[in-house]
């Protein structure tokens, strides 16, 4: 690590570089040395904002080194956009500091809550789809966009329960958030498959009904298998393994409707060696029509935006 990361502390200012319509990977500290050594052909990296809210040290040195070579997406997991109480202004300020420092191509958060009273639950918890929730979520998205001075993306959740009091369908709810706030959407294809299986609807119908014209980024991940109270399949959004074939098929369906979009591989538990993740990214790149291992670079305009990789 020492040979790659300088122990000096650069006061780096980054050019804003948009995410290319290529495969990206969720950044894990254990992979960083190898990524930098081999100039890994990855379109962009995504980090959880909360992991870079410390004052200094190794996390910032590593992310600075990555950011010098790749476009970046900053993904929040703790803003509690779907929560019933006001956003935490201290957390907003910390979030803005990360965004200002690294100038990411995209900034995203979840349709979920994680804080209630003064407890942070460290999980993405579900909200009922009601007019009341919609009003609150839109206020929170407005507040976050205004505070950051930029558009954010909101991600569709994976859920294990539904709420009897919901009066909106999820895809209509997501469309309404985007229309009312001007935010974009982050479409998590694995979440669609997990939720559709868990709630017994068709993921293909969901995708076709989704406001795909608002989608600016896709997520892909692996999930775990369980059974519910009545022995029906219950999928858990574990991010702990390879993406399954069903989800790859849904990804291809989505791309056929949206065209190429920045597509992130998420793997957050039981993290594999780098080549396993790189292979998942290469597979996504293949479906994006960007087989970087064999195809030449010309005509690849998105690639040129991140040409400083090499």
């Amino acid at each position: 690590m020492q040979t790659i990361l300088s122990a000096s502390f650069p006061d780096q200012s980054f050019e804003n570089s948009p995410l290319p319509a290529r495969a990206g990977v969720g950044l894990k500290p254990e992979h960083i040395a190898r990524i930098l050594q081999e100039n890994a052909p990855i379109g962009f990296f995504e980090v959880h904002a909360e992991n870079y809210m410390g004052a200094g040290g190794m996390p910032h040195a590593q992310l600075t080194a990555i950011r010098e070579n790749y476009p970046l997406s900053v993904h929040g997991v703790g803003m509690s956009i779907g929560g019933e109480q006001p956003l935490d202004r201290d957390h907003l300020a910390r979030f803005k500091a990360v965004v200002d420092r690294y100038q990411p191509g995209m900034v995203s958060e979840h349709l979920a809550w994680s804080t209630h009273d003064d407890v942070f639950y460290n999980d993405l918890l579900p909200a009922p789809y009601t007019d009341e929730t919609l009003q609150r979520v839109c206020e929170h998205v407005d507040e976050m966009q205004e505070y950051l001075g930029r558009q954010i993306l909101i991600e569709n959740p994976s859920t294990y329960v539904a709420f009897a009091q919901s009066t909106w369908l999820e895809f209509d709810f997501m469309a309404a958030i985007a229309e009312r706030t001007g935010c974009g959407l982050l479409f998590d294809v694995n979440n669609v498959f997990v939720s559709a299986t868990n709630h017994g609807y068709s993921p293909q119908e969901y995708i076709r009904a989704y406001p795909l014209n608002k989608v600016r980024e896709l997520h892909l991940a692996g999930h775990a298998h369980d059974k519910d109270d009545h022995q029906r399949p219950l999928l858990i959004d574990a991010h702990d393994r390879e993406i399954c074939d069903d989800v790859w098929e849904l990804y291809k369906l989505t791309l056929s409707l949206t065209g190429p979009l920045p597509s992130l591989i998420e793997w957050d538990a039981d993290i594999p060696d780098w080549p396993v993740l790189a292979a998942e990214a290469a597979r996504a790149d293949k479906y994006l029509g960007r087989n970087l291992h064999t195809a030449p670079k010309e005509k690849d305009t998105a690639f040129e935006t991140s040409a400083n990789v090499h």
């Binding site: 992991n51 709420f163 009091q165 369908l169 868990n198």
Partner: protein, 270 residues
């Protein structure tokens, strides 16, 4: 797969009750009833589905604790650690999305936890572990350049004060603290829980990006402690000599420099 689940629910449930208010406490307390209105496909109540959230929350917090406190986990064993962290999580859930700070109250919790009364050193070990995380994320600063000391006139040297590095931490204990803390590196090593005659400290520093730890002896402990609280070099040496008349000042100054505990000379006024 049917498309049934895509259709809207119609229900008499009032739309305005606070979901978070009922959902949240039940996440951390398995004895609390699952909130009404949580359903699976076909609108049936779904307790097992709700328990996925319970499990996610508790497991993710236990993992966070295990990442921050590997030495405690090694010393007391995996099973005891799980019991202990479950109790801690229930009484001290995180209050901030910045999870790096989670566990700050664990040393005090261990100290007050009656069944651990015979393991008083655990609290000190936990304090080193949480301080290690603190140092890892502390602000960047260049450590003091030893050459600058040589530029001070000999007459002024003893009146010199230093600025402490933002990552420097000193954890004092009556036990062989660094030895116990190092159990994270070697879980099979035999541990010595004997109390020392004197109080001494583990020094945590981060001269560049990598956190470093070392055991100070009982005289170097007040030496570094005094320097870190803006006492002069002379005062710090004097306090160390009171602790041990054989205190080796030049070795301690070398340690101050090589550890990166200080960043700059703050003044040399007499």
């Amino acid at each position: 797969m049917s498309t049934e689940g895509l259709h809207k629910n119609t229900t008499d449930e009032p739309a305005s009750f606070s979901v978070n208010h009922k959902f949240a406490p039940a996440l951390l307390d398995p004895d609390l009833e699952i909130p009404a209105g949580m359903v699976g496909p076909n609108g049936n109540p779904a307790p097992k589905r709700f328990s996925v959230y319970r499990n996610n929350v508790v497991v993710s917090l236990m993992e966070a604790m295990a990442e921050t406190f590997p030495s405690i986990k090694t010393i007391i064993g995996e099973e005891n650690f799980a019991t202990l962290t479950r109790a801690f999580i229930a009484s001290h859930p995180p209050s901030s999305p910045m999870m790096q700070a989670y566990g700050e109250e664990f040393p005090q919790f261990l100290e007050a936890f009656a069944p651990l009364a015979n393991y008083p050193f655990l609290s000190d070990v936990a304090q080193v572990e949480i301080s290690w995380i603190d140092a890892y994320h502390a602000a960047d600063a260049q450590p003091l350049d030893g050459a600058l000391l040589g530029e001070i006139k000999p007459d002024n040297l003893m009146n010199t004060r230093f600025d402490v590095h933002p990552a420097t931490r000193l954890i004092k204990s009556a036990y062989q603290l660094h030895h116990l803390f190092s159990s994270r590196e070697n879980s099979s090593a035999e541990l010595n829980f004997e109390k020392n005659e004197n109080i001494s400290a583990v020094l945590i520093t981060r001269p560049n990006l990598v956190v470093e730890t070392c055991q100070l002896d009982h005289a170097t402990t007040p030496f570094i402690e005094n320097l870190a609280s803006s006492h002069t070099l002379g005062e710090s040496i004097e306090t160390a000599m009171q602790a041990d008349q054989n205190f080796d000042a030049s070795a301690a100054i070398t340690l101050m420099l090589t550890s990166g505990a200080m960043t700059a000379i703050s003044n040399t006024t007499s």
